[in-house]
Structure formats: structure tokens, C-alpha cells
Amino acid sequence: MFLFRFFRWLLGYVRFTAEGGFPERFINLCTNNGIVIWNLKSCSGVLYANTSINGYRNIRPVAKKSGMKVRIFRRYGLPFFLHRHRRRVGLLLGIAAFLALVAFLSGMIWNIRVTGNEKVRDDIILNAFAQSGVYVGVRKKNLDAQEIEKAALNKLDSLLWVSLNIDGSTAVIEVREKVDAPPVEDDDSPSNIVAAESGQVVVLEPYEGTAVVSVGTAVNKGDLIIGSVTENKDGTVSFHHARGYVVARTEQKIESKQNFHEKSTVYSAVRKHYTLHFFGLNIPIGPCIEPKDNYEVYDSESRLEIQGIILPVSITRRHFLICEEKEGQITSEQAQLMATESLINNSSVNLKTAKVLDENFRLIKSDKSIIVSGHYVCNKNIGLEKPLQVEHGG
């Protein structure tokens, strides 16, 4: 309905009054003569109605036939607006310039969106496409999608397929990443299973090869548990790829040390520098002075977005974080807390696959540091495959 009204406004229409005579005859004659009238309203014997500009030009004979006198009540629409302001050249030029600018700008790419990537970062893909000719501000008609896709795909080895689609002023880059084939294990090569840690064997399940130790045996790190050599009945030997499940009760000690004197980096000040990106132009706001001291830098960008549509206007903030190294003193309680936290983190990583049976903790304090040590007794899979070097006799 809005579009309908807009087109009527664009073409222009008039609201007129018709009085005296026969309104019924007037309406019928208008319809029969192809004069479109709408919003008819009768008010104290006066008929109000709308019609197009051409319709009003042809309405006189109809009104005469039906004995009605028509008069324009009000004019609506663009043609009347332009006619009213026909002497204002600046206004007309401004409208024309605006329309030309909109037409020119809509022929460019103002936003690039990448979809379908998980491992490969957006900036790597955008960089490859920029080298192939797709960047913010490029003319759409200069883009040859197929050639650009080929060129970009040659630069991006980790991608399997790329597609460039132009959606209005947005270039949508759709990608598919390569999936690496799973590594094929060399099952035939002879190998032993040895102890990765010292302990007492509690579970031993040899699937292939010959078990050298039995449940209850104590093994040291590197000791053979399941051998690859099997003796045949005829006295010859054959080599296998030993497989099995070996769980041993092991003891493990994990320590965490925290010094009372700690060097730390403190950010003393932050300097910001702004750059305005406007339709492909980079406009620095103020001079960009880099600090002389140690500093870290990072950028953050805010883009202008209206109802999910990203506009080609953004501001980049460059933050200069000025760093200072300071030596600070921490209290014994703080050090103990930090050391304990570190120990918990380490033990959760090291004993991820183990079942802890018993655990003891000790705290060792000295003048300069504090050490928190944990002693764990746990059941752990200690089987480690070790390839066997076999020399074939001639």
C-alpha cells in the first residue's frame, strides 16, 4: 500500500471538488471514460475526490455532461513540488547530484563478508581476495568473479572451494576448508610396549605380542612389558606390532614454586589514536605519536550498522599501552595461594587420565620463596609403544 501511495505521489495527483448536477452520473461517466477517481467523499452536497493529473485534464467534458462544476481543492506529488521550486536551480542541482552520488556509490563494494571458515582466519582470506582485486571501494562492474575465485584459491592452500557473490554493495565470500585425511597408522612395523613411568603393574591385557611381566610386578621407566617377538613352534621367531593395556600403580610428585619478590608488567598509561574510515578513505583524527618507552599496541574497530546492514563508515582506535616492569613484594599468604592454584592447575593437566588413590601435600617455606608439593598415588596407563629396529639377514 505504501508503494502504491509512493507511486501516486511520484506521478502527482489532485484532490478536487465537484458540486451541482448529478454526482452519480459524474462517477459513472468518469469510470466509462477511463478517468480513475478514488477517495470519493460527499459532504453537504459537495463531492470530494482524487484523480491523476491526466485524469483531471480530461474531466472537464465529463463534468459538463453531468452538470457539475469541478475545482481543484489541493495538489499533491513530486511534479507539483518541482514546478513550485522550478526557479531554485540549486535545489534541483542538489537533488540531481544526490541521485548521481547514490547511483555512483551503489556501483561499489562497501562491505565484505566471509562465511564458512572455521580454522582459516577472516583476515587471511580477505588479504588473498584483496590481492585478487576485491576490496572495499572497488567498482562492482570491474569484478570478474570466476577469475578472482581462481586467483584467490591459488593463494589459499588450506581452502577447498571459494565462491564470490555480490549482494547489493556487499561481497559475500563463501569458503569450504580442506579436511585433512586421518593419519594411517603403520600397524605392521614391529614395536614393543614399554613402561612410560615406574610403578607396580595392576592391570595387564596383552592383545598382540608376548607379555614379559605379570600383574604385581614392579617395573621401572623404560622396562619392557609386552614384547614384539613371538617364538613359533618350529623354533623360528616372528615380530609383531605389540598391543595391550597396561595400568600400574605409580607415584607422582608435582611441585609449584612462588617467589616473594615478583617482577610484573604494569600498564602505566594508555594513549589512543583514532582513524575514521569513510567510503574507503582512511582519515586520521589528530597526529599519531608513538610512545618512546616500552609499549604494546592493539586496534579495535567500531563499524556503523543500521538494522544488521554494515555501512562503509567505521572508526579504528589504536591503543598504545605503555608498560613498566616493576618488582613487587607479595605476602606469604598471597604466595601460598598462588602456589596452590598453580599446583592444582598442573595436577589437573598431568593426572588427567589417571585415577588418584591417595594424595599428600607439603608446604616448604624459605626466605625468598614458598613451595607447595603434592604427592599422588594413582593408577595410570603406562604403556608406551616403542618401535623396534629389525635388521633383516641376507
Partner: protein, 102 residues
């Protein structure tokens, strides 16, 4: 002697089914889809869309009378107006009090 003339009620014309009615009944089609059959849709008592309108017989803010070919429909109400009248379709708005077929 003067013979008294008895007043008699005018006999009502017998209801005769039209061809459109017969066809729609036989083919199990809605009557409104038959050619030449006018169609009136009412939205409460505020708006009426009349299809198959052959002309306007009376037009003022209280009464709008439309020619439907074989019949005439009259809308009586207050503040009645015709929003559009094109391609034998008229849209009547206002406070409709009654719809009569004449």
C-alpha cells in the same frame, strides 16, 4: 349497487434459479466464481467490497445505490464514501446501517 372492489396483495414472483446457480450446484463450485454473478464482501459494518458493479445510481453521504446488472443494492448509513471504483469493483466505507437488494 356499487360492487366493492377487494384489495388484493400483489403476488410475489416465483423464485427461479439462474443458470449460474444450476451450474455451480452441478459442478460443486462456489457461486461467487460464476461469471456475471456479483459478489459483496462485508468487513463488519465499516467496509463493503462490491464486485460486478455496473454503475452508480445514487451517491450521497447517507445512501449509495449501485447497479449490479440484474439487481440493485442499496447501502444506507452515515458518512459513506467510495474509496475506489475501478474495473467494476467498488469499495464503500463508512458506518453501514443496512444493505438492501431492490
Amino acid at each position: 349497487m356499487v360492487k366493492k372492489k377487494h384489495s388484493r396483495a400483489k403476488p410475489q414472483p416465483a423464485y427461479k434459479r439462474t443458470v449460474q446457480e444450476k451450474v455451480s450446484e452441478e459442478l460443486d463450485l462456489p457461486l461467487s466464481s460464476m461469471p456475471g454473478m456479483p459478489n459483496i464482501e462485508l468487513a463488519g459494518n465499516r467496509q463493503a467490497v462490491v464486485e460486478g458493479c455496473k454503475g452508480v445510481l445514487e451517491y450521497n453521504e447517507d445512501v449509495i445505490k449501485l447497479n449490479l446488472g440484474k439487481s440493485v443494492v442499496r447501502f444506507v448509513g452515515s458518512g459513506l464514501s467510495m474509496n475506489s471504483y475501478r474495473f467494476e469493483q467498488a469499495v464503500i466505507s463508512g458506518n453501514i446501517l443496512s444493505v438492501e437488494f431492490l
